[in-house]
């Protein structure tokens, strides 16, 4: 292995400027020959205006179907140390909290086996070890499990669930996002490690409708905290915001409420909670004065995904309100119903959101045993193409 420093005049220009530089990061680890070659490949890409990576084959650790993304360089002669350059996805601890000790342990492992380059974190939430040769996968895994870590998902499996910091550091968490995320991750280890679904299935858990993990846009199942009683209101604190001049209550609060369900008479703020859609805005503006109600739980939504291939989707309402009490039995059963039905009838590489659109939400609900409710739709159908099913009684009468 060569550790001759690569010439990188183009990417060197990205060491300048006030924002932290990824090139500096690479150079910090450039004593590692893989990373040194990575600098070289990247410079080459900047020069050629094209990437130099090839499709990965099936690589992984024993008994697991996911967690490793194979990657090969298309210039292996020139950059032999990145000829193999796989990534490992390591399931992060819920909420991304760490101690310095555990971080150092992770660093030790990765300096020993790989490039010393990571992503903290990947877009799905995993710790990413960037650049591992095939032979080091199993030893790395072994050291990781020894340190208490395991791989995350990849391929057509349950993906690493992630969540906002929730009750750990946020007053608005309507349920325990970290507890829930840990629970389901452990509960479905097999589904996480051994791809058996039509395609990937992501979970993301946000403690309130601010949705700080973007669950509605990025998770097949989005669990968004909410409440169903009245917003908690501290009139003295409201007055304090107003008199201190911190908040223009008419313009900033009442005027921005999407349902216009608030009013301010110069002294008192009145919320018509029956019309409130729990958007969080007023609470966000006056966190000392307003808070989510006390009867808390979550709205469960299904189906978000990126554009490939039918166009991007946001998740849509599946259960308007669910009391998020451990061990979340009903929800787990429901998820398994969904996996069974989608698993049996979904096409290869068809996300659950696309599947539902293909077979019809009404039919889907029937199959997983949920009653339709108007909260599930923005409005009822406008087209008259109803697949009427005549009930059996009627049918019998008419059968000839």
């Amino acid at each position: 292995m060569t550790t001759n420093k690569r010439e990188t005049p183009l990417i060197d220009q990205l060491e300048k400027g006030p924002w932290p530089s990824f090139v500096k990061e690479l150079k910090k680890s450039a004593d590692n020959p893989m990373t040194n070659d990575l600098l070289g490949v990247l410079e080459r890409s900047y020069n050629d205006r094209i990437g130099h990576w090839k499709h990965g084959g099936l690589v992984g650790v024993m008994g697991y179907g996911g967690g490793v993304i194979g990657r090969y360089c298309d210039l292996p002669e020139e950059f032999p140390n990145v000829a193999h350059f796989h990534t490992m996805r390591i399931n992060h601890p819920a909420g991304w909290f760490y101690t310095s000790d555990v971080l150092r342990k992770i660093c030790d492992i990765w300096e020993k086996h790989g490039s010393g380059i990571t992503n903290m974190h990947g877009s799905t939430g995993d710790i990413i070890f960037l650049g591992c040769v095939t032979d080091e996968l199993e030893p790395t895994f072994s050291d990781l499990t020894e340190a208490g870590f395991d791989l995350g998902g990849s391929g057509s499996d349950m993906r690493t669930p992630s969540c906002c910091c929730g009750m750990a550091r946020c007053e608005w968490a309507c349920y325990d996002t970290m507890g829930f995320t840990y629970d389901i991750t452990q509960h479905w280890q097999d589904e996480l490690h051994r791809p058996a679904f039509p395609y990937k299935y992501k979970f993301k858990a946000s403690g309130c409708p601010n949705d700080c993990v973007a669950s509605i846009a990025r998770a097949d199942m989005s669990i968004i905290g909410t409440w169903r009683d009245d917003i908690q209101q501290d009139d003295a604190a409201v007055a304090e915001y107003v008199t201190s001049g911190a908040v223009d209550i008419v313009e900033d609060v009442v005027g921005r409420c999407p349902t216009q369900c608030m009013s301010w008479d110069g002294e008192k703020l009145t919320i018509n909670n029956r019309d409130c859609v729990r958007c969080m805005h007023c609470i966000n503006v006056m966190p000392k004065a307003l808070a989510p109600g006390k009867d808390r739980g979550a709205t469960i939504l299904l189906g978000a995904k990126a554009p490939i291939i039918g166009g991007a989707l946001l998740s849509s309402v599946l259960i308007p309100f669910y009391e998020m009490e451990p061990p979340y039995e009903d929800l787990k059963e429901l998820v398994e119903e969904i996996w069974d039905f989608w698993g049996e009838h979904g096409k290869n590489r068809e996300r659950v959101g696309e599947f539902i659109q293909r077979i019809g939400l009404g039919n889907f609900l029937e199959q997983i045993g949920l009653e339709p409710t108007p909260e599930m739709v923005v409005h009822p159908r406008t087209n008259p193409y109803i697949f009427f099913e005549l009930d059996e009684d009627e049918d019998e009468e008419e059968e000839d």
Partner: protein, 362 residues
């Protein structure tokens, strides 16, 4: 190997988060009362018990050397009893109980090149993907574009001077691993040339029926080329999604000349005020111009500035545009409206203006 396998640990799952929580969080878990954002990058959360937790948020480039992680660990030891966390947008957060240590921490972070900011009505870290660092599909580099853009937008990271949060995301191909589709500003690298087919390799490395059926527009059909069992692409029917490439390595879309970057605006995720929104196309194409993509940087800066100058307080990018209407957005942002802006995919008709409710131009 099989001896190893027998006492091999598997399916242990991630470590329990609790062991990593600082004592103040363990004590006040689920019992926070309110928070304040006294200055950019600093939050204080006050518990019902009266306890106060100070958070200092610093930027990271996401791509991190273990050296940097060790640096953060050392800082955590010095200032936070060894406790820190990462955010959902790849910033690092130091969790302090001693208010007086904040300044020193911020100083050390700054000295090491990790500025503090990104809270409140600011531009926080750009969510992004692999790019030329690791992915075979990338139509541009991720880290480089992000670095160039954030160098320019840096003042909005360290200040809270915008009408509302501006969330920027980058993805290096239409797979959109950065889930850019609901961002105030989305930077999306695009291919613009139909796949080049390696006819020799085709039958060996790909399943031809799978490849044919992978194309959403039906542009691919089986063909024999120079005696090789392969496929051909009807170029006019290709919209460069690269789904064929995902299932078949012999159909590469990467192209040094024609790949580049598109800009999308007005998406959001939070439910605050308005419902979540997709980002919409603003600029269909800007050529790749490494190492600093000046045209991309300029275009984004312009959009941020126009927004900052015109939106009302608390109005996210998309809320502002919805209020003034898209015709006026194109006017004030001085962006050309082209046929590419008009949707022509499956649900295109749902985006046509089926009313006369548009504001006067000019």
């Amino acid at each position: 190997m099989s001896a190893l396998a027998s006492n091999r640990k598997t399916d242990i799952g991630p470590p329990h988060y609790e062991q990593f929580l600082p004592p103040i969080i363990k004590k006040n878990y689920g019992k926070w009362k309110y928070h304040e954002n006294p200055r950019p990058g600093v939050l204080v959360h006050v518990a019902e018990s009266g306890d106060k937790l100070y958070t200092v948020r610093a930027a990271t480039p996401r791509l991190a050397s273990t050296k940097t992680i060790r640096l953060f660990a050392d800082l955590a030891d010095e200032f936070c009893g060894g406790h820190l966390r990462y955010t959902s947008r790849n910033n690092v957060e130091f969790l302090l109980t001693d208010e007086t240590k904040i300044d020193a921490l911020i100083e050390k972070l700054a000295a090491a090149g990790y500025p503090v900011g990104g809270t409140g009505a600011s531009i926080t870290n750009i969510v992004h993907t692999q790019g030329w660092i690791h992915c075979h599909s990338a139509a541009s580099d991720a880290s480089g574009v992000v670095k160039a853009v954030m160098d320019e937008l840096y003042p909005h990271f360290v200040n809270m001077d915008l009408p509302a949060k501006v969330r920027i995301a980058f993805a290096c191909c239409l797979n959109m691993c950065g889930a850019v589709h609901c961002s105030d500003i989305a930077i999306l690298a695009v291919h613009r040339r139909a796949p080049k087919i390696d006819h020799q390799a085709m039958a060996r490395v790909c399943e031809i029926p799978t490849t044919v059926s992978s194309c959403p527009t039906g542009a691919i059909r089986p063909a024999t080329v120079d005696g090789h069992q392969s496929v051909e692409v009807i170029e006019e029917q290709c919209m460069f999604c690269a789904n064929c490439y995902t299932v078949c390595p012999a159909m590469t879309l990467n192209d040094a000349e024609y790949d580049g970057i598109s800009i999308w605006v007005g998406g959001k995720v939070s439910q605050a005020r308005s419902e979540p929104k997709f980002s919409k196309l603003a600029i269909p194409y800007i050529p790749n111009n490494p190492p600093r993509w000046p045209e991309v940087v300029e275009a984004i800066k312009n959009i941020v500035e126009v927004y900052a100058a015109n939106a009302r307080k608390y109005e996210r990018m998309g809320e502002w545009i919805d209020r003034i209407g898209w015709p006026r957005f194109f006017e004030v942002a001085d962006i050309e409206f082209t046929k590419y802006h008009i949707d022509d995919f499956t649900h295109a008709g749902e985006t046509f203006r089926r009313s006369v409710h548009f504001p006067r131009i000019g």
